[in-house]
Structure formats: C-alpha cells, structure tokens
Symmetry: C2
Subunit: 187 residues, 2 copies
C-alpha cells in the first residue's frame, strides 16, 4: 500500500487534490542503518514509511539505550518537539530495514493544510491515532507486569516481532533484555 491509498482510506480526495498532494512528498529508497534524524538535529520534516521499519531511541543518563517507539509500514514519524517547536530532537530515528520513505517539509505541510481541507482532517486522524496508542501504552506501563506488557506487545505488534532484536523490544517495554528472555522461555 502506498502513501496515497493510505490517505484515501481516511479522506476523500478529488483527482486534482491527489495530484497536488503527491507532488509535495519526496519519495526515497533508504538503506537499513540510515538515520532519518539524530539527537540534537532540528528536524522539520514528517516522514512516512511505506515499506520497511524504523525505530526511535534515546539514551538515559546512565548510558542505557532505550527504544521509544517502532514505526512499521504505513506510519508517520517526526521529532515532534523539533518539527513543531523548533527545538533540537531528543532522540534518534534509525531504519531497521531497507525502506521506502516519503518526506515533507514543515513549511510545505503547513501550505498543504491550508489548501487541502481534507488533508487537515487526515492529519488529525493520524495524530488522534498516535495519542490513542500512547495512552494505551501508558496504561500498560503503569501497573502491569513485564509478562502482561510482553503479551500486549505480541498481540499489537505481531508484524514486527520477528524483525527486531530482543534488546530493542525489551527497552521499548521498559524491561531488561534478560527478563524478556526469561519470559519468552516461559519462566
């Protein structure tokens, strides 16, 4: 599925709109290991993963590397604080697989939102969706056991389970790699 059909799932677009929307996105093939942005970059783009997989991560004070979020096919990514508030990004965003990525600049996005009212609706949809995922994740983190969290991951992220390393999943879930290994072994 490509970007345009993904948008058309949510918003109705006229043929002219389709034309103009697709023209402001830049499409690229990028290799595994490529960084969409790094810590301290000012990142004023939104990215869309059409194919492939990305993750964001950050470092804690004591040097631990923690996965913040995974972005499989049909995900939008940005360093929100950088994109919107113009601050240096706090985390890194790396591609975990060779990927096909669309990108759009903040300024172009703003112009498009003014022109294409359907796109504003679509953009809301994306952000709502992210908000919903995050609030579910927070509930999950609070009083659930490591095992509960892992099984929630299993049901929500089946598609990426085989594609990322154990350590990445563990830090995403807020547990150590050793604990996750034991859970997986079935105690």
């Amino acid at each position: 599925m490509n970007l345009l059909s993904y948008i058309k799932n949510i918003a109705k677009l006229s043929p002219e709109s389709e034309e103009s929307i697709i023209s402001v996105f830049k499409k690229e093939s990028l290799p595994k290991g490529h960084y969409l942005f790094k810590q301290n970059d000012i990142c004023r783009h939104i990215f869309f993963i059409e194919k492939g997989l990305a993750r964001t991560y950050y470092h804690t004070e004591n040097g631990r590397e923690v996965t913040a979020w995974f972005f499989p096919e049909n995900s939008f990514i940005t360093a929100i604080d950088s994109y919107y508030y113009n601050n240096p990004a706090k985390d890194f965003c790396e591609l975990l697989e060779d990927s096909i990525v669309y990108s759009i600049k903040f300024s172009e996005m703003e112009m498009m939102l003014d022109k294409e009212s359907q796109m504003a609706k679509f953009a809301f949809h994306v952000v709502y969706d992210m908000t919903k995922q995050m609030s579910e994740f927070i509930i999950n983190l609070k009083f659930q056991t490591a095992e509960d969290r892992y099984s929630a991951f299993l049901t929500n992220y089946t598609s990426i389970l085989q594609r990322v390393s154990l350590g990445h999943i563990a830090s995403y879930l807020g547990i150590t790699q050793e604990t996750l290994s034991r859970i997986r072994a079935g105690k």
Copy 2:
C-alpha cells in the same frame, strides 16, 4: 485567563472569528464531584477547564483505581476513543474542584474547523502538546525509579500538588500510595 484569550495566545483571530468561535462553546459552572463523562458513555464533546481541576481514571482488572491524567486550568479534555471513533469511553472524568468548564460537540467542532482555518491550527497545537507530554511521560515511566518520577511530577505539576490526594498522584505515577508516602517522608 479564559478560553478565548488562551486561543488567541496561539492563533490570530479576526473580531468576527472571535464572535463565532465563542458562540459555539457552552460555558458552565460545575461542582466538585461532577463527572464530565463516565466509563461506557459515548462522549462526543471536548471540554475546556477554565478554572478548577479534573482528572481521568480507570479501573484495572484487579479492581484498583488508577489516575490516568490530571487536567488543571487551561486544559482540553476528551475521551479520545469516544470522541473520534464513537466507542464507549474507557475511563471516568471527574472534577476535583468546583470548576468553570466550556464544552463543544463533535459536530460543531468539525464545522468550526472547516470554517475557521486558524482554529484548525490551534487544534493541532493542542494535540501536539498532548503528544509531547505523553511521550515525555512514557520515558519517565520506563526506567526511572519511583523517586525520579515523583520529582519530575514536582517540577511539572507544582500547581496541582497541593490540590489532589496522595493516592491520586501515586496511581498517576504508577506507584503505590505507601511508596509515595515514604518517598515524601524522605526515605
């Protein structure tokens, strides 16, 4: 500060826009203990707390009551899944103080977003802001100790510290009331 001046902090509004915006919001004085929505309600409103304080909470399988989020002055609240996807709300939203609350229906909000392009910009701002807060909160939950989380709360939420019970704060932070009490006692 009232709703309109809050909006004007972020978006530029013509006098006519101001007029039309303020007319679609309903302003109410509501008592402490009032529920803006409850679990299983279909809540198709957005609320804005001009004065007072609200919190959302939910129940876990084992019957524990957990605070999801606090909403002090100048916060927007909605049951996102209900507002946007028309599903029953998962949590409760109660006022912790006598409050002045504005509300707007989903349908009216949609109409306003179509008419007032500045409002769409403002709405983005609100959702971006929530997203940012949530992602910081998630980082905080993952590998930080109970004490770290509490001190982060102290710096970010000084204004509500004195206004909510210890138990509410504890479950918000994902720790038990006993632990929080000990932290506060300084070990």
